[in-house]
């Protein structure tokens, strides 16, 4: 069984919008997969199903052998500890320093300070932010904030990292740097990476697996693929 499996997954939002229809997808451990597709095609929805922000209407979503679609609300946190999520808008806590932001998950798990410190420093080393640990998020550039967000996502050494347009707000140079950081995490930590993006240049440069979604349906899935712009017929 693959690390991630989606079998005949359907997702319709409460307002009646059908975001995903009959998605079938398998992703192996350690893979790096781009999810591309035009705005509103269902990329974020797919991500949300993986970390159980949303529930499927039909079908199964398996992550690391766990049927995420059947997970009880009270147990969702166990999944989230194994999944790091990175967003376009970072979602950092403005009143906490960089160090505190990265330590936040571990602190809330009740780990001891020594372990927290070690893990935070390890994560910081991977994303390269050493000099800014005492700064606050609003004192950082977008690229730096995104590094903090990535550090927070990997601080608990997750098996899966989900990135929803992580470079959406960054300029091309910063985007490349961020992509290198994530690529390094993928190869060095062995974490599976799923990244949705609109960034043609990045997709073409990285030469990874590319899954294209259109109107909630997988329309192409290429190994070492290129960015495609899918059009109806």
């Amino acid at each position: 069984m693959a690390f991630i499996e989606l079998n005949h997954v359907f997702k319709t939002y409460k307002n009646g919008v059908s975001a995903l229809a009959d998605i079938n997808l398998q992703i192996n451990k350690g893979e790096f997969v781009f999810i591309i597709g035009e705005s509103g095609s269902g990329k974020s929805t797919l991500n949300k199903l993986l970390y159980r922000e949303e529930k499927v209407n039909k079908g199964n979503v398996m992550v690391g052998g766990v049927n995420v679609s059947k997970l009880k609300n009270g147990n969702v946190y166990k999944l989230r500890r194994k999944v790091g999520v990175v967003f376009q808008d970072f979602k950092l806590l403005p009143k906490l320093t960089v160090y505190e932001n990265i330590a936040y998950p571990l602190e809330s798990y009740g780990l001891d300070n020594k372990t927290i410190r070690e893990r935070v420093m390890e994560a910081v080393n991977r994303v390269g932010l050493k000099e800014k640990l005492r700064s606050y998020p609003d004192q950082l550039s977008g690229g730096e904030q995104q590094r903090v967000c990535i550090a927070r996502a990997i601080v608990n050494k997750p098996k899966l990292i989900i990135c929803d347009e992580p470079t959406g707000d960054l300029d091309p140079k910063m985007s490349r740097e961020i992509m290198d950081v994530i690529d390094k995490i993928n190869t060095e930590m062995g974490s599976t990476v799923i990244m949705s993006t609109h960034d043609k240049e990045i997709v073409n440069r990285m030469k990874k697996r590319v899954v294209c979604i259109h109107r909630g349906v997988v329309v192409s899935d290429q190994e070492k693929g290129k960015y495609i712009e899918y059009e109806d017929n």
């Binding site: 009270g74 946190y77 989230r80 500890r81 936040y104 998950p105 809330s108 798990y109 009740g110 001891d112």
Partner: protein, 299 residues
């Protein structure tokens, strides 16, 4: 160890939150205080009503004067009848014959003794003496016994006393109802405070959920917050209760208006009352939190 860290973290976050939304917290704290002051009054009042009632029951004897010239058999019948009245405290029922009373009075008073010696007959009336189990029904009981054969008339302590007890009980019941209403209002206010805390921290909460913080850890600070508000709210009522009641007790000198109304000594009740106030404060706070967490913290 982990549990201790999670606990201390919860308390830390809760304290921060109480002081961050200070004006709101103060509103809840004062509401709790007002409620608890009245709870305290109600408790002290109840203690005193119970003690006064008991005291009155202890001292209030009913004296039934028996007709003269009745036979022993008739006396016995009457005794059985009185004994079978529900409100008569059986252990206290006593028969005092004419001779017995004469002896008693003579022993106490030499002049009276001389008077008795000059008389051929005994001028005294035999009596039955008893106390009632329920002072509030004393009037009824007396009326019933007056109807029995060979009862001449009945004397008993002011029926005012029994009216007083009834009145005190009405006041106490009103207190209890007020307290319940105030507790509900306080729970609502605290719940509202916590709701606003939840709302103002929703960004942080969504991040906590995202990074895999367990539901217990997410909820704990809110529960502590209500608890802290409740405990802080109980400080003033506890002080008022201890010093206020002691002062009042000393000021009136232990009894009110008459020796019939004896107040309970502060030392024997203020500490129990304080403990109850702190507990009620904490519980009310927790209830408020649980209510808010259940309704507004969707996890």
């Amino acid at each position: 160890m982990r549990i201790i860290r999670i606990f201390t973290r919860g308390i830390r976050v809760a304290f921060k939150s109480v002081f961050r939304n200070l004006s709101l917290s103060l509103a809840s704290i004062s509401s709790t205080s007002i409620t608890l002051v009245i709870v305290g009054l109600a408790i002290l009042f109840t203690f005193n009503v119970n003690s006064i009632t008991k005291h009155i029951e202890d001292v209030l004897t009913v004296i039934v004067f028996v007709d003269k010239n009745v036979t022993d058999e008739e006396i016995n019948d009457l005794k059985t009848k009185i004994n079978s009245n529900d409100n008569v405290n059986k252990e206290t029922l006593e028969y005092r014959s004419q001779d017995y009373l004469k002896e008693q009075l003579s022993a106490k008073d030499d002049d009276l003794k001389k008077v008795f010696e000059t008389l051929d007959t005994n001028p005294l009336q035999a009596t039955f003496v008893f106390r009632v189990s329920d002072v509030k029904k004393i009037d009824e009981t007396v009326k019933e016994i007056e109807q029995y054969d060979h009862v001449d008339y009945i004397k008993y302590g002011e029926s005012l006393a029994s009216k007083l007890v009834s009145m005190l009980e009405v006041i106490r019941n009103a207190c209890v109802i007020t307290v319940i209403a105030l507790i509900l209002v306080t729970i609502f206010l605290i719940s509202n405070t916590i709701k606003i805390t939840i709302f103002s921290r929703r960004h942080e909460l969504s991040i906590m959920r995202l990074v895999g913080t367990s539901n217990t850890v997410i909820k704990l600070p809110f529960l502590f917050e209500g608890f802290i508000i409740g405990i802080i709210g109980s400080i003033i009522p506890v002080l008022l209760n201890i010093f206020g009641y002691t002062f009042f007790y000393d000021y009136v000198g232990g009894d009110l208006f008459s020796e019939l109304i004896v107040l309970v000594n502060p030392n024997s009740i203020v500490y129990t009352t304080s403990l109850v106030l702190v507990l009620v404060g904490g519980l009310v706070g927790m209830f408020g939190s649980v209510n808010a967490v259940r309704r507004y913290l969707k996890i």
